[in-house]
């Protein structure tokens, strides 16, 4: 008999600098700086939800990626395509995206309008192969000089056994 285990994965979040990662050059003078953080949703005894960065979490927990886009230059930047991938091992929680994204990609190559993405996910529910969002993208018309824009999206950690 196969032992049925639904939970049991524990994960640790660790934010590291991209410095030192092979193939990830850093351009220090870029006008647009991006900071990505991850936090885990937790509830206290009263049921109040809070987001705690850098803590352990179990599969099935909700984690939230927050990307802060900062214009470090003295001039406006325009037509920003800001995107946050949803890595393997996590499932995008579409309604959590804030603000509402412009588009998303299932295959990491082609992008569809956000509303169309939602429709396709619901349609795929009727099949055996659910669709998974791999990249969420926001089209930000402009970030003025020295201003920042914060974008976030949540995801659910996967739990299925291999």
């Amino acid at each position: 008999m196969k032992y049925s285990a639904r939970i049991g994965f524990f994960v640790v979040f660790l934010a590291i600098s991209q410095l030192g990662l092979q193939g990830q050059p850093v351009v220090a003078s870029e006008p647009l700086a991006i900071k990505l953080t991850v936090a885990k949703a937790t509830k206290d005894v009263s049921g109040k939800v809070s987001w705690l960065p850098g803590e352990q979490a179990k599969p099935g927990d909700t984690i939230r990626y927050t990307a802060t886009y900062s214009n470090q230059s003295d001039r406006s930047l325009r037509a920003i395509k800001a995107q946050v991938p949803i890595p393997e091992g996590a499932v995008c929680l579409s309604p959590s995206a804030d603000p509402v994204p412009t588009e998303a990609s299932f295959d990491g190559k082609t992008f569809l309008p956000w509303t169309q993405v939602q429709e396709q996910i619901l349609q795929a529910e009727k099949t055996s192969e659910p669709l998974e969002i791999r990249i969420v993208r926001w089209l930000v018309p402009e970030i003025k000089a020295r201003q920042t824009v914060e974008l976030s999206v949540s995801a659910l950690l996967t739990t299925q056994q291999p």
């Binding site: 647009l32 890595p87 996910i121 529910e125 056994q161």
Partner: protein, 932 residues
Amino acid sequence: MKSQTNSTAHLRVLSGLLLGLAALAGTINAFAAAPLAGTAIGNQASATYTDDSGATRTATSNTVITIVQQVASFDLIDPRTRSVAPGGTVYFPHTLINLGNGTDSFDLSAALTTGSLTNIFIYADADNNGIPDNFVNIATTGNVAAGASFNFVVAATMPGNVVAPHTSTVTVTATSDFSQTGAGAPVQTDTNLDTAVVTADAVLVVTKSISVGSGPPGTTPVTYTLTYTNSGNNTATNFTITDAIPVGMTYIANSARWSVTGAGTVLSDSAVVATQGTAPNTIDYSITGSTITALIGQVIAGQSGSLTFQVGVNLGIAPQTLINTANHTYDPDGPGVTPPTSPTPTNPVPFVVTQVAIVAADDPLSGAVPNADDLVEITTAIQGATVTFVNRVVNLGNGPDTFDMTFVGNTFPAGTTFQFFKSDGFTPLVDTNSNSIPDTGVLQPGGPAALNSTYLVVVKAFLPTNATTGDNGGAGFTVTKRATSGFNPSVSDTVVDRLGEITGKTVDLTNTTARTDSTPAGTAAAGNAATTGFGFESGDSLAAATVTNNTNPGTTTTFVLYVNNTSATADTYQLAADADGNFGTLNMHTNWAVVFRNDVGGSPGAIITGTGTLNAGTNMKVYAEVTVPPFTTPGIRDIYFRALSPTSNAYDIKRDAVSVNTVRDIGLVSNNAGQVFPGGSVVYAHLLTNNGNVMEANGSPSVITFTLAESLAAQGWNSVVFWDKNGNGSLDAADPAVTVLDAALATWDGLAPNETQRFFVKCFAPLQADALTVNITTITATTSGGAINSVAVPPVVFNKDTTTVVKGDLTLLKEQAIDANSNGVLGDAGDGTFTTLNLTAKPGESIVYRITVTNSGNTDANAIVIYDTTPANTTYNDAGADSQASVNSVTTVVAVPTKPADNATGAFQFNVGNLTPGASAIIRFGVTIDGL
């Protein structure tokens, strides 16, 4: 499972965050393959955007990583039922599969649940043939890798006094060791219940084994052996074995052998061939489809035998475990009344098909051939551009694999950086297999035609803005990447990206108007036309000046330039001017000055040294102001203007010129006044200055002639012109009388531009002149000799000297001295002494004038009043004793009733009073030269 999938889909779209939080309670699963313990889930945000210059740029964030920890899970298979004779030993084969995501070990135990079995032991069965490898009782599996199996046999003895019918059961228990640690909780346990049935008839124990337990696709032959023993007390008849060969294996024809007929007898595969062997030990063997069937006539008590056959592992199949289990039936009491047994499975025998890594990294348009020298080419790119190559990585192996992407080397210009991106071209390629190397993610096997077996990796080369241009000697610029199998790092393939040529940025400096293809558009033709001077090419646009401005010395002339950025990317340009056009060391004609100004509403604005950022295809209007110093000799001087990008080194040089006009201008100063006794003389000084820019009075062709005219010539007044040849400021014997200034005059070498020479007019009064008679002497300088550079002779200039006849005879000597620090007191460092010579002083410095009034007559001179004024471009300096207006006379009647205020201009009146013959009075006042 279906319902869970649905709820997850709703979660993703509808319930979102709230349900996600509900997941804290562990009620919702997300369905994707869970990664192995220690797997790092990396994530990196990115963006593309347009900067102020209109250029598209890419930015990436830091990487956040989530590390997956271990969880325990396993499966224990399966409960077994076996027959056993009284006093016999029964064997229950089992397999434990580690379904967790990390290596684990498992505690094993077996205990009698019901019945009479004794001597219950657990033995390892590494070869999985259903027979103990040895008789060492074990209580643990030892370490079992994630996804791996551990085989073991539970053995037990049925006491000899047990009589059929009888049934005993044994509970086999396995417990995960990891789950018994704090991190692995809760504790996970699984059990199987084995059953032993006592019989007085035949008991056939059938086990199965395999010659090799694993191998890659194509492994052949693989021999299966079915071994049987009748451990019962009766003869078994119609012993039938059926064995379905697993999908992924192919039966090898005529490979079957039976121990009874020997290795030399090939068992016929055909169902229609007669029974083989010698009665009663016969066998009827056949294969139908992929299932073999062997009917053995009888097996007497205590008899053993074996049946073997061979298969081959199919090519191209995925890594997997092919499990083969045979089934058998027999009649346990021969012709007796006991019915044949139900089909009973043997121990399952696995064959592990191992994974083979094969990868092709290549051009997406090529044939996906491993180890081929694939080349992706882009013809040309501009300095500072981002060159994008698309490489294809194809998994040609037989299992899912992840391929690390690394840069092997490159011949691009120094400063070029490279980065991998995902197929969308914007998202950075990240590491998904925890080795800090970006990779493709998992690719499924199957080659180019298979689903999800191909990944397009985007490679971007960021060229420096000052990248060396050209084609690298024809070789172009290459970067080599390697795709390395994560499953087998010894397997890799490379692909080369080649950029044929790097072209330089360009800029076009045009006169008067911008290019027609620039924004805002002008009317200058594009290209290397002389009218626009595009490019610095000897013998082309620079053979002659494009624009020549005419101007006079001492003036400023302006060239209107347009800097046209003709590149496809933004750039900035520094502006410079050079006299010789080589711009090695910037130099300019002596005392010439050039400044650049921006354009403010169609007029020159602030001084600039560069354009700032010019977007691709745009231009900027610039004014180049060239100041020509005074007295510059006539002629054409080239001026080269250059716009140079300090980053890309793109530049353009424009050749223009300034034509300095010929200016002819003679000045003569000044008018004088004096007194003279009848029969006496008075000397007046005059300065002749060449204010033009060509030589005058040198006889080639210019000649200057002095003429004198006396208003009272009829009464005997007369004057003579002398040249202050020795330059001492006073008329003496060395100074010759002159009339004509040309080459004939001894030691006279002409009057050069900006040169001044002093001349004296000595006026003689006739003896009979009456007192208070006034004579006016007019000295005229007339230039002749014709035009120079088509410019006619300068106008005639003249001065008038007014001489009054007096009874007395006063002489006035005016001298000057420098008061360098303007404190009104002479004698400080830098101050000078009184002299009648010309002095040189700077703006802001002061001059003290001293006028000596002497009665050179033989009678008293009374009520003497001296008038003077502050000279042009000066103001009265009332600072100190030497410069304050004063009169020092022998009489007491001295006063300065009129003088300007300090630092103001105006007239002075000095009441000298009376002077006896031979007496003198000293008058002083100081002025300050106007500052800058």
